[in-house]
Amino acid sequence: MFLTVFIYLSIIAFVGLSLYKAYQFSKMPMHGRWELYPVPKEPDGKGHYGGSYYEDLEWWNKPRRVSYVGELVDMAKEMLFIKNLFVNQRRQWWICYAMHLGIYLLVLWAVMLLVGAITILSGGAVAADAGSWGALVYYVTFLSGAAGAILLAVGSIGMYLKRSFSETLNKYTTPLEYFNLFFLFVVALSGIIVWAGDIGFNYGREIMVALLTFSPIQADLALTVHILLLGAVMIYIPQTKMSHYVGKYFAFHKVLWENEPNLRNSKMERIVKEALSYKPKASWSAPHINPGAAAKKD
C-alpha cells in the first residue's frame, strides 16, 4: 500500500503546492501598472500591432472593450508552443520545446492511463486487438507515453548538455539548475527502463486501477524506483522555479497584459481605493524619504 499512498500524496502535493504558489502571488498587494505592449486583449486589431486605448481621443469616454479571444489565442500560443522562444531564439527552441512537449504528452499519457483503467474497471479491455475503443485507448496511450518519455529524456539531457557546453549559458547556470534538468532526465530514463519491459504500458493501467480501487500496487525494483522518482519530482517541482507554469500566468496576465484603467466607478477604482487606505508599518531610510529618521541619526 505504500506505493499507492505515496502516489496519492505526490499528486496532492503537486496540485496543492502549485495552488499555494498561485495563492501566494495572488494575495500580494496591488502592484503599480507595468504593462508592456503588444497587449493581445486590445480589440480591433490593436493587439497585433501593439496599439492600445490610449490611441483613442478621450479614451476614458469610450466603452472599455477587451478581446478575450485575442488574449486566449496568445496565451495558448505561448503555453502550447513557447511562441516567444520560437520567434526570438529558434535554435534553443527545438531542444526546449522537445522537453516541454514531452511533458505535455506525458500528461496526456496519464489521462489515457486513467481512461484505460476506467475502461478495465467497467468490464472492457484495452489492447491492440480489443475492439475499436480498447485499441484507440491502447494506441493513444502507447504513442503519447512513448513519444513523451523519449522527448522528455532527450530534451532534459539535451538542455543539460547545451547549458554545459555553451560558453554563455554555463556562466548563468547554477548547480541547482543543472540538478533540476538532470532530475527530470533521470525520471524519464527510469520510466523508459520500465516501459522497455512492458511496451503496451499495461503496468501503468494496473497502477491506475490500484489507485482507483485504493489497493496495493504490484511493482518490481525498476517500477518501484520509477514511482519513487516520479513522485519525488512531482513534490519537488512546485517548490522550484520549474513551477513557471504558475509564474507565467501572473507574469503575462496579471502584469504585462494588465492595462486596466482606473476609471471612475469601476472595479479597478475600488481596488485602488482599498490599496490607498493601507498604511505601511515600515519605510525606506534615505533622507528624502525619511527626513525625521535621518535628522535623529545626525
Binding site: 505592449y37 500591432y49 492600445s52 478621450e58 479614451w59 548563468y172 507574469a251
Partner: protein, 536 residues
C-alpha cells in the same frame, strides 16, 4: 567574465574595444571620436572599476573600512526591503516573478541595444545584472554555506560589488525591449529599476541630474529647470513675440484659464532648449480653436517626473502634485505634450494614486492632433515637407503605452517622403537617452551615451536615410516626439557631426505639422530657411 567575478578586485572589470560597426558613411576610420581618457580623480573618488565610465555622481567611494561596511550594510538592508510587502507594495509581485523564474535562456540579450551596440560585452547582458542581484540575495540569505553555492549564491559581497552594481544599474535605458522577448514574461528592466531604487530610497544615492537637480528641485521650485512663475511668464511672452516674428501671426497664449477644457503640459526643458516646440503647439491649438490653457502654478507647467526612472516615492509625490494643480485649475482633461516619460508617468504610473474627482483624465497629444488633421481643421501642404523624414518611437509612448498609429496617420498626411526605421513601432529601439541618460552629463558618461547606448538609434537613423545620406543638399529630418529622445538625438547628431556633414536634422512632430501649414509665408523649420529669411 561571469557574474561571480563582479566583486573581485581589479582596476577595471572590462573595457569596450569592439563596438558594433556603423553603416555608411560612418563605416570608415576616423569618422567617430575616441573615448575620453579616464581621469585619476574620477578613479579615486567614484566607481570607475566597472567599465571605466562614471555615471552616478553621488556614488562616492568610501574612505574608511567603517564606511565600506556601512555601504554594504545599507545596500543589504535595502535589498531586504525590496522583498517586503510593507516597503515595496507597488512592485513586489512583478519583482518576485522576474526574480524567481528566469530560465537564463538569454533570449533577452539579442533584444538589448546596449548589449548589441557594445559588441556583446558580457556585463551588459540584461541577465548579467539580474543574476548578480540574485546571487547577492542568495548569498545574503544563506551565508557562505554549501546550500548558498548550490543555489547560486556565490558572489563576494563587498563595497566594490555594491558600487559596481550602482553603476551597472545605469547602463540600461529601462526600455524593456528585453521583456518583450522573454518567453516567461519576465522583466530585466524592472530588476534594474529595483536596483536603482535600493540605492536611491535606502542609501540616498542617485545621479544628481535625476535627484538633486531633478525631482528634489522640482518639488521645491515646481520644475527641474528651476523656472519660477515670473520666469515662466517671461518665457511665454518671449514665445508669443517669437511666433509673431516667425509667422507674422499674433497669438495670446492662455495661462491659468480656470475651467478650460484642456490643460496642456510640456516638458519645461522645451521652453529653454526647443521653444519652437511649445510655439508649434500654440499655433496648432489656437488655429484649431481649442479651449486650452497652460498653468503657471507651482509644478503645474512641467510634466517631467524623473521619479519614474529611479525612485517610487519621488515619482508619487510629483505625480500627485501635478494632478492636484490640474484639479485646482478646474480643467476637464490634461493633455501631455511631446514628452515620453511624462506620458507614462502621468497616464500609466499615476493611474493608481488618485480616485474619484481627483483622478483628472489624462491623454496624449497624439490622438488629439491626429483627429484634428483627419477632420481637415488645418490647411496643410505636404509638399512643404518634401524631404526624407523618419520617425523615432519613444519607448514610453510605444512599447509601454501602445500609442503607435496616430503619429503615423499624422506623418502620412504631412510628409510625402516618410519612411520607417527598422524595427519600429512597438519593437523600436530606445534613443539611448532613456531612463534619465539624456540629462546625465557627469564625468565621461556622455561618451557611454553617444557611443554605446545611442549607437543603435544612430545606426537606425543612418539606415533610414541610406538613399540620401551622402547627398548633403537634401535635408533629412528625424521626428522625435519626446523631449528626452530629442535631447539624445541632438547629442548623437552633434557628436558624429551628422548635421554639419550630412544635413541630418531632428525635432518634434508638431513643428513638422506647422511647417506644412499653407497660411505661413516662411518655413517653420529653421533649417529650411534661406539666409535672407534668417536675417529677419
Amino acid at each position: 567574465m561571469k557574474p561571480q567575478d563582479f566583486g573581485k578586485p581589479s582596476e577595471q572589470l572590462f573595457k569596450l574595444d569592439k563596438l558594433m560597426p556603423l553603416p555608411a558613411p560612418y563605416d570608415k576610420p576616423g569618422m567617430e571620436p575616441d573615448f575620453k581618457e579616464l581621469r585619476d580623480s574620477w578613479k579615486e573618488g567614484y566607481c570607475s572599476t566597472l567599465d571605466g565610465f562614471v555615471g552616478n555622481d553621488t556614488l562616492v567611494r568610501p574612505k574608511t573600512k567603517e564606511e565600506e561596511d556601512e555601504m554594504v550594510k545599507k545596500f543589504l538592508s535595502g535589498l531586504e526591503k525590496l522583498f517586503s510587502d510593507e516597503t515595496n507594495r507597488v512592485y513586489l509581485q512583478p519583482l518576485a516573478l522576474s526574480f524567481e523564474y528566469c530560465a537564463k535562456c538569454n533570449t533577452c540579450s539579442e533584444a538589448c541595444h546596449v548589449f548589441k551596440a557594445s559588441g556583446g560585452v558580457e556585463a551588459y547582458r540584461p541577465i548579467f545584472r539580474s543574476e548578480v542581484l540574485r546571487s547577492i540575495y542568495r548569498k545574503h540569505k544563506q551565508g557562505g554555506s554549501l546550500i548558498s553555492r548550490f543555489i547560486g549564491g556565490d558572489i563576494d559581497i563587498n563595497y566594490e560589488t555594491v558600487m559596481r552594481l550602482g553603476e551597472l544599474a545605469y547602463r540600461c535605458n529601462l526600455c524593456r525591449r528585453c521583456a518583450q522577448t522573454c518567453p516567461l514574461g519576465l522583466d530585466n528592466g524592472l530588476l534594474t529599476r529595483e536596483i536603482r531604487k535600493i540605492f536611491s530610497m535606502e542609501m540616498g544615492i542617485a545621479p544628481k541630474p535625476l535627484h538633486e537637480s531633478g525631482t528634489v528641485k522640482q518639488l521645491e521650485t515646481g520644475s527641474s529647470t528651476g523656472i519660477t512663475k515670473e520666469a515662466f511668464m517671461d518665457l511665454i511672452e518671449f514665445m508669443e513675440e517669437d511666433i509673431e516674428e516667425r509667422t507674422g501671426k499674433k497669438y495670446k497664449v492662455p495661462v491659468d484659464k480656470k475651467g478650460a477644457d484642456i490643460l496642456l503640459v510640456h516638458n519645461a526643458g522645451e521652453y529653454m532648449a526647443w521653444p519652437e516646440n511649445p510655439a508649434a503647439f500654440t499655433i496648432i491649438f489656437e488655429e484649431a480653436g481649442l479651449d486650452w490653457t497652460l498653468s503657471s502654478d507651482m509644478i503645474g507647467y512641467d510634466n517631467v517626473n524623473y521619479g519614474l526612472f529611479y525612485d517610487d516615492a519621488q515619482g508619487r509625490k510629483i505625480g500627485a502634485a501635478q494632478l492636484k494643480a490640474a484639479k485646482e485649475l478646474g480643467v476637464r482633461r490634461i493633455v501631455q505634450a511631446e514628452c515620453g516619460h511624462a506620458h507614462k508617468a502621468s497616464l500609466v504610473s499615476m493611474d493608481r494614486i488618485m480616485v474619484g474627482e481627483d483622478n483628472i483624465p489624462r491623454e496624449s497629444f497624439l490622438p488629439l492632433l491626429a483627429d484634428l488633421i483627419k477632420k481637415n481643421v488645418f490647411k496643410l501642404d505636404p509638399t512643404r515637407n518634401n524631404f526624407p523624414v523618419t520617425l523615432h518611437d519613444p519607448c514610453n509612448m510605444a512599447r509601454m503605452m501602445g500609442i503607435i498609429k496616430p503619429q503615423r496617420e499624422i506623418l502620412k498626411a504631412i510628409a510625402p517622403q516618410f519612411r520607417e526605421m527598422t524595427p519600429h513601432g512597438v519593437n523600436n529601439y530606445c534613443c539611448g537617452g532613456g531612463s534619465g541618460f539624456a540629462i546625465m552629463n557627469s564625468f565621461n558618461f556622455t561618451d557611454f551615451r553617444n557611443k554605446v547606448s545611442s549607437r543603435m538609434k544612430f545606426k537606425q537613423i543612418l539606415e533610414a536615410f541610406q538613399d540620401s545620406i551622402e547627398d548633403v543638399e537634401t535635408p533629412k529630418y528625424v521626428v522625435a516626439p519626446c523631449s528626452n529622445c530629442k535631447g539624445a538625438i541632438r547629442d548623437i547628431l552633434a557628436y558624429y557631426q551628422a548635421t554639419a556633414k550630412f544635413n541630418v536634422h531632428y525635432g518634434g512632430l508638431v513643428e513638422l505639422v506647422v511647417n506644412a501649414m499653407v497660411d505661413l509665408d516662411k518655413p517653420f523649420l529653421e533649417f529650411l530657411l534661406d539666409d535672407e529669411d534668417m536675417m529677419f
